[in-house]
Symmetry: C2
Subunit: 182 residues, 2 copies
């Protein structure tokens, strides 16, 4: 799958929720997400712009666990990437397997994410532990589909919501790593 | 988990089924197992005596999929190893993730496995594509439990079933690789 995704800093969640409601976006699930990121023994994923993580999501009492691999960003403006995501049974066992085959646990990123849907878009308001408020807008494409149009429509939606700057291509993981290194 | 496991070549499945029935072993599920083995970009698993595989099991209409990591054998007589096994959603997505993070698909091993249980033992009659008939006897232990006693009891059970030689510490994967290289 190709994940076409743009992220921007926002002023406040309440203000943005109001704007989203006004344009008719539908508030859907709210999840707590815990992402354990791993680095490769062969290459430095921070340099190759890849990511391997175990995500545990909790919504009310329901827990889901996934492995996600994200390939390098494939354009200069957005966070468009090739992504493979797969459900798994157990985060601890999975971390054990990743470590056994040489991968190293680098950091855990925790956030509360409120999802909205609007037309073909998935919108997330992300309250990441240790970071400012962010909003992400995403469209999922099948491999081979053109992502330029999708990307343009995402920037148009940002504009409709009053956001024309503050775009950020750096991942939450790297933003947190940068904070810690400064 | 520690998997204490001993494998031996047998003459015939029918003859062994009869012996197992005589001692009171219970015939349980029969599965078709397809194992896709991967090698590491860092070390050669054939040399480090590790294994990483995706196993798809089919029993009647029911399919289950797992990732299994097996550590190196930890004794000289049996195939006792540290093992981590975890259920996953999709074999193809998983192969895609393994390949994306640098692992290489080396071989697929297919077999029909008939399971039996007897006391604390799990017994398998393994009809592996391309190999002679084999039987495996296994006991699962928790990490830290002593495996010597378990191992001795496995060899006693083999003797009870008339098998005192033909033991094989080489995995089905390696047996098939060796056949192909000769």
């Amino acid at each position: 799958m190709i994940e076409v995704e743009v992220k921007a800093k926002i002023n406040s969640f309440d203000e943005m929720e109001e704007k989203l409601s006004k344009i008719g976006a539908l508030k859907t699930k709210k999840e707590f997400q815990e992402d354990i990121y791993f680095n490769s023994p062969v290459v430095d994923f921070a340099k190759t712009d890849e990511a391997l993580r175990i995500r545990t999501t909790t919504e009310d009492e329901k827990t889901n666990i996934f492995i996600t691999y994200k390939g390098p960003k494939i354009d200069q403006k957005s966070k468009t990437r090739h992504e493979i995501e797969m459900g798994i049974e157990d985060a601890k066992k999975c971390a054990g397997i990743f470590e056994a085959i040489g991968f190293r646990n680098v950091r855990t990123v925790r956030k509360n994410r409120q999802y909205f849907t609007y037309e073909k878009f998935e919108i997330s308001l992300d309250d990441v532990e240790g970071l400012d408020p962010y909003m992400e807008i995403e469209i999922g494409l099948n491999d081979g589909e053109d992502y330029n149009e999708a990307q343009n429509s995402i920037f148009e939606l940002f504009e409709k919501l009053g956001i024309t700057d503050g775009f950020e291509r750096t991942s939450y993981l790297e933003l947190l790593e940068n904070l810690n290194n400064n």
